[in-house]
Each structure stands twice: as C-alpha cells, then as structure tokens.
C-alpha cells in the first residue's frame, strides 16, 4: 500500500514545517477547525480507528466519553512512552514526520475541547523530544499552536513532558501520575481518565501512531480509512519487526495482513537460513505464537481469536536456535524490573517468576516449577492487579510454559539441586541494641 504515516520517510528535510506544508500538512487542522468538535469526533468514530498503543480501544469512542458539560479544563495527552519491548514505531514517526504528530494532537485536542496538550515521551528519547519541541516551536511560530489558532477562537498549548525511565508510565493512568509529578503508580479504574484524568480533569490519552492517523482521517475521510483493512480493524498499521530476521524495521501495511507476509516478505524472512520457531505478535506482553501460527492475521480481532493480542504491533522473531526457557527468563526480568510495586500479585509475582526462571536457567530447576509459574501467572492476571502489567508478564510467561512445556521439563530433568550453602556459625553480632530502654 502507498505509505500514509511513513510517507515522509526518505524525503529530504522531512522534519521541517515547510516540507510538511508543501505536502499538504495542517490542511486537516484547518478543516477540523471548520467542522467543529462533534463532527471531528464523528469522523474518527466512523473510521473505526482503534488505539495503536496496545489496548486497541476505539479512538472515537474514547473521545466521546469526555463529559459534554464539564465546566473546567480538559487535557489531551499524547503517549510517546514507547517502552513495550519490540516496539519502535512511534520514534520512527517522530524521526521523519513530527508535524504529523503535532497536527494529530491539535485535532484531537480540538475534538475534546482541550486547550492544553502534553506529549509524554520516554526519558531515553532525548533526540526525539527535541525534534518534537522544535516542531511545536515551528507550529507555534506559524500560528498552528497558541492563542486563537488561525482566528478560530480556539487556544492550544502543546508541551513536551519527558519521562525518566519507567515502562509503567506507558500505562495511561501511571502516565498521568507521572505528569502530576509523582511516582508512576497506576490508578484504580473507575473513575476513567476521560472523566477524572490529569489534575482531576477529563483527559484523553492517545498513542503517537493513533494521533498520527487523525489528520489523514480528516483530510481523506473516514470511508477512505475504513477501506483499508477490514471492519473494526481498519487503517494502516506500523508493524515493527525485530529479532532473527534479515531486514528488521518498521513496515506500514494494512491491518489484517498475515504475520507470515510481514515476516517473510517485508522483513526478509528468518536470518541465516534458519527456521522460524516462535514470535511475539504485539510486544512482549502478548501470548507467544509458534511457527505453526504464523498465518494468523495481524489485526486486533484475529489475534484475540488466536488467543493472543496485536497490542502495539511489535513483532519479535525467534529462530530455532532459541531456548524458550531463556526467553521466558528474559521476559520475567523485564517485568520484575518495571513493576511499580504497588500491588501484591505483580510486585511479588513478577519477582518470584524471575527467581524461578533464573534457577531453571542456572540448571537447578525442580519438577514443580512449571505449575508454580502457571499458578503465579493465574493469580497475577484477569483483574487480580491494579493495572495490566500483571497480565503483561502472566500472559507471555504462561503461554511459553504451556506451548513449550517439554523444553522446561527437559531442563528440569537434567537439573542438579541448588548447591546447599553450608550454614555458617555466625559470629555473635552483639546484644540487641535495645534502643536505650
């Protein structure tokens, strides 16, 4: 398909506003201001655009949750935290076409009547934060951002807000806590952000890629957008392919192509002439798929039907040299490191899984381990935790245990017992301090 979101990739000086305008940029913003917020929301609703950050929630519907009669300010937040392993599409968009993001932010803000928008970008993306700041400054200079935008009477401020190294701040409510200056602790829901969000005001949080779609929807129409993909799974999607492929990268394709097509045709197939063994279809938070499942269609509903998730569309490919127990261990380390620590199952369970898997990898696995892992995963998901980070480690780890159980059992069968540390006779450390009593 002809590129939409990545059409600026390869164009010289693509980041400048002059280039963007010459290619028809900010026409969507102008048109939206003329349409009015309700018509804009309806257009996005009709396009059936679903969130590209991982949850796949219908974007127009999320916008419509903002209470119509709320007297105070509303906020739009662009989620550029991009920390899901295997995902690197948002930085691709920002690298080549930051104005596309700014325009999407502007239109979305207008649709929900937010006069302030924050772009929350992960702390590590120093370069891309600066690119966005430069683009916003250019847009402000040309009157696309600021007071009384293009004489419409609508005021808009857009600020870049950097995170500081926490995957959990990609979860929308933890993101809001982080903007508010706190530790990134996800909030209980309800209330939902559209009603009670940042600073207690109605807030819509959308992913970078989701917002990048919006100007195109406004300019070319909902019907055009919906003509790509299939009903309820519409539009172009940026698929990130990494791991054991010949051509890792970001590929813009219609939702619904198969993973086989993405991996074999676009990413050049498994590298080194090896065989595909397994792949994550949508970041590491999704249940893993085996090589036998590579003909699954890469869209939201097809992945759900296949027992996994499209998520962010971050495809991580493993060839047949990979030991799946090691993969599970690596995944456990990620979530144990990123768990915010608030709630019991995730805080204890992620660490516990990591310890068990470390022990198995070190050659000291025990027969009970696979079932213990499944038990931990069972009680860290499906509502046991405050936020989906519990599910984010429970689903991949339990899927690996279930689909590759024999690899676990083989390792455990050849395991040796943990070396017993000879309990030393400790030197007496002195009497209890007593604390002056």
């Amino acid at each position: 398909m002809e590129p939409v979101l990545l059409r600026a990739r390869g164009v010289s000086d693509s980041r400048s506003i002059a280039t963007y305008l010459a290619a028809g940029g900010y026409e969507g913003w102008k048109k939206a201001l003329g349409m009015g917020p309700d018509a804009v929301t309806k257009e996005v609703l009709d396009s059936e655009l679903r969130g590209r950050g991982g949850a796949g929630f219908p974007t127009g519907r999320k916008w419509s949750f903002v209470p119509k009669d709320h007297p105070g300010p509303r906020y739009l937040v662009c989620n550029a935290d991009e920390s899901e392993p295997g995902t690197f599409k948002d930085r691709e968009i920002i690298e080549y076409d930051p104005h596309q993001v700014v325009e999407g932010v502007a239109i979305a803000s207008f649709a929900i009547k937010a006069n302030t928008a924050y772009i929350y970008i992960r702390g590590e993306f120093v370069r891309w934060a600066r690119i966005l700041e430069d683009a916003i400054a250019e847009a402000r200079q040309r009157g696309f951002v600021g007071k009384n935008v293009m004489g419409s009477g609508f005021d808009l401020d857009v600020w870049v807000h950097r995170g500081a190294g926490a995957y959990i701040c990609g979860e929308e409510t933890a993101l809001l806590e982080s903007i508010e200056g706190k530790r990134g602790f996800p909030r209980l829901k309800p209330p939902f952000p559209a009603v009670v969000g940042v600073f207690g005001q109605p807030t819509v949080i959308n992913n970078v890629e989701t917002l990048a779609c919006v100007p195109h929807i406004i300019v070319r129409g909902a019907a055009w957008f919906a003509s790509i993909g299939r009903p309820k799974n519409t539009g172009p999607k940026l698929f990130c392919v990494s791991g054991h492929v010949n051509r890792p990268g970001v590929f813009e394709l219609p939702l619904g192509v198969t993973f086989r097509e993405i991996i074999e045709e676009h990413a050049g197939g498994v590298r080194g002439g090896r065989q595909l063994k397994a792949f994550f279809p949508g970041g590491s938070s999704a249940p893993i798929l085996t090589a036998a499942e590579v003909d699954t269609m890469a869209d939201f509903d097809a992945c759900a039907a296949a027992g996994t998730m499209l998520g962010s569309g971050g495809i991580i490919v493993f060839d047949d040299t990979v030991d799946m127990v090691d993969v599970a261990d690596n995944v456990a380390h990620f979530y144990a490191h990123e768990s915010c620590g608030q709630c019991t199952p995730c805080r204890e369970g992620s660490d516990w899984c990591m310890d068990i898997l470390d022990r198995i990898v070190a050659g000291h696995g025990r027969p009970a381990d696979p079932d213990t892992l499944l038990r931990i995963c069972r009680f860290s998901s499906a509502g046991m935790t405050i936020c989906p980070l519990g599910d984010a480690f429970a689903l991949p780890i339990s899927s690996i245990v279930n689909k590759y159980r024999s690899e676990f059992e083989r390792r455990i069968a050849s395991a040796t017992p943990l070396p017993q540390k000879k309990q030393p006779v400790l030197p007496w450390a002195g009497p209890c301090p007593g604390f002056g009593i």
Partner: protein, 557 residues
C-alpha cells in the same frame, strides 16, 4: 439508602459506603491491609477481593461502593476465596518467619488474615530465597519508631498517614517493584509529632514502637478505656496493662476528637504512670516522719479540718470532675474554705479528628474545662503564690503537679508554715513539706470523668487498684470497672484515689450527702446538683466506646 445482600445477609447502608463497611454492618468480615477507615483508599494489597453476582471479574471491597440490589459473596464464593488465598501466599512469600521475635504477634493482621484465608491444608509453593533489606532489620528511624523492612507488605498506610493526617509527608517509598522500601528523606530522623501512629497503622511488625519493644506479648495485655492526660483535647486511649504494670497507651477510636490517632507527647506519658514514690500514708510529727494506717490518717486529717480556720485548698486541673466536685462541696461549701485551681500554659499540641479537622490546645491539663464549669477559681502562678501567702492555717495540696510553682523553694517555705496535707504519687519536693502525706494512684488506678476543651465529658475507667484496696458501690457490689485481683506484683502499697479519700473524710466529718461509694455515685449527685452536668448520666456518657470496627487486636478480657 442502598440495600444489598452479603453472603446471604441483607443489609441497608448509607449511599457511598464501601463493601468492607457494608459487610461489617452485615456481620461479615472482609479482610484488608491497605484499607483504613481514615486514610484514602488505594486498593493495593488486593486481599479484599469479593465476588459480585453478574460481574465476571472479582471486585475490591475497599473501593467498590455498595449499590442497591447488589449480591456480594465473600465466604460463599469459591473464586474469591481462592484469590484471597493466593494473595496471602504472595504476601507471605517474602515475609520473614519472625513471629517468635516480632512485637506485632497477637495483633498482626497478617497473622489474623492468613489463619482465615489459607485453608489448613494449604502449603506455600515458594521455595526461593527471600528478598531482604540488609541494614534495615532493626533500624531506629525516629525517637519512637523501629523499622524492620523485611516484614513490610508495602501497604503504604504509614506513608499515607504522614501525608494525609500528620501532614509532615516524612515517609516515602523508595525504589520500585519488589525492592521498594520505606524510608525518610536521606535516612534522616523521622520527625513527626505523631510518629508512633505510623507504627499503629502498620498492619505488621515492619514499624513498631521502640518503648514497647520486647516488653510484653500483646495477648497478655488488658486494655482499659481511658482519656489521655497530656492536654485538654481529651484524646481517647486504651491503657494497656498486665499485672498492674502499664505498658503503653494506644489510641481508642473517637471520630469527634482523635479518630484513631494519638500524639507522641500523650502516648509516652504511659511509662511514668508506673512511678509510685509514696506507698503509705505518712505523718510528720515531732520532727519525724512515720508511716501510718489509713484509718489513723483520715482521723487525724478530719480533726484538723474540724478545727481549721483559714482552710486553703490548692486543687488541680488534672483532677477528675468527681474529685473537683467533692473538693468544692466538702472544702468549699461545708467547711467554708477557699479553693484555687492553678493552671499554666503548655506546649502547643494538635490532633486531627475523624473529619480531618485540626484541634489545637496549649492547655496541658486534662480537666481545666471541668474545673471552670464547676465554678472553681482558676489562677495563674502569681495568683497561686498570693493564694498560698494568704494561708496560715490548714493548707491542702490535692496534686503537687498542678503547677510548677509548687516545687519552688518559695512555695515550700510557705507550705512549711501551718499544717499541710499533700496527696502525691511521684517524687515531689512538696511531699517533704507535708504534715500528712497521702499516696494516690495514677490515672490507671483511678476512675472518673474529664471535660475536654470542646466540652465533652468523657469517662476514664480504672485499670487496676492497689492490693487491698476495694471499693464497693452502694449495693455492696464491687465496682465493675475495677478488677481487684490481689497479685503480689505491680504497684505496691496502699495508694487510694482522691475521690475515695474525700468521701471517707466526708463520712468522718459527718457530711452524709458526700459519703458516696463510687465515682458513679458522685457523678449522679453532680448531675442533680450542678448545671454543668445536668442531664448527663454516667452509664451513657461518651468516653468508653470501643468500636469493634477498629479493635484490630485480640486480647484477653
């Protein structure tokens, strides 16, 4: 008002009530750690999971409001029970097996809930090495609080307490995930006037009170409802004691005054209650001080009172209403003496009530309001000095701690003139000037009421009496608040509460209306005779409530 069913029990609650409180009203206990009725809801511990009919996922009791027609299953839901059993397993996975050496044992929510939520057949699946926090196992973080981070279940109650109640925001989480720990800024001292409340709210032994460390097993303690003597706010407390030794004060719930809090100043007035310098009545005669029996002492003092011209009584704003009333009636009305109640300003104190409102006091006395309402004369140090100068005959000092002036050399000189009767408990210079010295017990050995600065008349009960000291009501029954079991330890001697001595003197002096058998009887008389207490009844006075809702401890008695 929503009407809902919980484990088959129907209950109607106020709109907005969460399921934990609704269940409590229905007689069903939903376990919780991070929930606290006076702190914000965070839904972190995940132990309060219940099943709501029609909802595919389990719900949290703490953050789900009761809705009309809701059908909630707590014990009767297999799914919810399995979930809670698993959450317990997660909490215990890294929790050290410290019960034998942990002060929290016996009043530990982790012990309590694990006994209920994990079946007797349950065995943990956790066989990894527990995560520990080296250097944080016995850490004195402030003057009163000891930290053991290994025991922490990360409920955030302590942090929320310092942010939402005391306002110091002195405690915080540090780090992330399973290496999260509690600390102060840069490891500095935990500087908070209510710091020990952080140890109270800690459901486990991660934060404990230094002064109580290793001193007594909680299940040995008897808890007697009382009122804090530290200032005029009148926070409600429990005196926790065993074998007639006071081990600690803990807060007692009163939403109007102190919610479930107690400031450090008041809390640590507990230990001094165990001081008993004077054990028996003493009489200085012929240059010598001799111990005498109560009978002889009362007879001697009564004789002085009969003959006295110029009777001066220094009362105290620390005395109970009953004692002040008896003093006023006996010494003021009948014997035509003069009574002064000295008061001195103190350090500013504050407390937060159940609505989050701040109550302030600079009055260090427990019962100035009571003295004022009884129409007694409140004087400052200068006024007290003039009052004592005026006396040449019989001077009664009902409480030498009433004012710092009473310890001064000037005061002692005055007290040595004429006959002086002193009631005392702790070592005090005025005792050396006494002609007659009568030992009194502490707050723990007394019974009566105080009036707070906000006008609340509150009862405090007697924890124990000196051996051999029994008081009986008019019907001859033993006063129910006094468990007089003669034991060979605890405060020895024969201290008797002031009200008992005053009623005995009334009997000696032939003033039958004041010959009363108990503080309850005194109160009944006070309520009849005095406008300030009109309409109040001892049995229904506030001050002894022990809301089961917040008694999270098990103990005997």
């Amino acid at each position: 008002m929503p009407k809902l069913t919980i484990d088959g029990h129907e209950v109607e609650v106020a709109a907005g009530t969460n399921l934990i409180e609704a269940a409590r009203a229905a007689g069903v206990a939903i376990p919780y750690f991070c929930y606290h009725p006076y702190l914000t809801v965070v839904g972190q511990c995940r132990i309060c999971m219940v099943e709501i009919a029609g909802q595919p996922r389990l719900a949290l009791g703490c953050s789900t409001p009761a809705a009309d027609g809701m059908v909630v299953k707590v014990e009767t839901s297999e799914r919810a029970r399995e979930a809670r059993e698993a959450v317990m397993e997660f909490l215990l996975a890294n929790h050290p097996l410290d019960c034998p050496v942990c002060d929290q044992a016996g009043e530990c929510l982790l012990q309590d809930h694990s006994m209920r939520e994990q079946g007797s057949e349950f065995a943990t699946h956790m066989t990894e090495t527990r995560r520990t926090f080296p250097g944080y196992e016995r850490r004195l973080i402030g003057p009163h609080v000891v930290q053991n981070q290994n025991r922490c279940i990360h409920c955030s109650r302590c942090i929320r307490f310092t942010r939402e109640i005391s306002g110091t925001a002195a405690l915080t989480y540090k780090s992330r995930g399973n290496s999260t720990f509690i600390d102060t800024f840069d490891g500095s001292a935990f500087d908070d006037p209510m710091s020990a409340c952080a140890a109270d709210v800690c459901p486990v032994g991660a934060l404990t009170v230094r002064e109580f460390r290793f001193r007594k097993r909680s299940w040995k303690l008897l808890s007697t409802p009382s009122v804090c003597p530290g200032c005029s706010i009148g926070c409600n407390i429990f005196i926790d004691h065993h074998e007639r030794v006071v081990y600690r004060f803990t807060p007692r719930e009163n939403p109007a005054i102190n919610a479930t809090w107690l400031c450090d100043h008041g809390r640590f007035l507990a230990e001094p209650l165990n001081e008993q310098a004077y054990l028996d009545p003493q009489h200085r005669t012929g240059g010598q001080t001799i111990r005498v029996g109560w009978g002889e002492a009362l007879a001697g003092i009564a004789a002085e009172l009969k003959d006295a011209s110029g009777l001066r009584v220094v009362a105290s704003a620390n005395l109970s209403n009953e004692e002040l009333f008896l003093a006023r009636e006996l010494f003021g009305r009948h014997l035509k003496g003069e009574i002064a109640v000295p008061v001195a300003p103190g350090e500013p104190r504050k407390m937060r009530n159940g609505k989050g409102e701040w109550l302030h006091a600079t009055d260090p006395h427990a019962n100035s309001a009571g003295a004022r309402r009884l129409g007694l004369d409140l004087v400052d140090g200068e006024g007290l000095s003039r009052f004592l100068y005026g006396g040449a005959g019989l001077t009664l000092i009902l409480d030498p701690g009433a004012h710092p002036f009473l310890a001064s050399p000037e005061a002692l000189q005055l007290l040595r003139v004429g006959t002086t009767v002193v009631w005392a408990r702790r070592e005090h210079p005025a005792a050396h000037a006494a002609t007659w010295l009568l030992p009194t017990p502490s707050l723990a050995g007394n019974e009566g009421t105080f009036t707070s600065s906000a006008g609340a008349v509150q009862r405090f009960a007697q924890a124990f009496a000196a051996p051999g000291t029994v008081h009986r009501t008019a019907t001859g029954a033993m006063s129910p608040s006094c468990p007089t079991i003669a034991v060979p330890w605890g405060p020895p001697g024969e201290a008797r509460p002031l009200w008992l001595t005053l009623t005995a003197l009334a009997r000696e002096l032939g003033v039958p209306p004041l010959d009363l058998a108990s503080p309850a009887d005194v109160f009944a008389l006070m309520a009849r005779k005095d406008k300030a207490f009109a309409g109040l009844a001892w049995e229904t006075l506030g001050g002894l409530q022990q809301h089961e809702s917040f008694r999270e401890r098990q103990h005997v008695g």
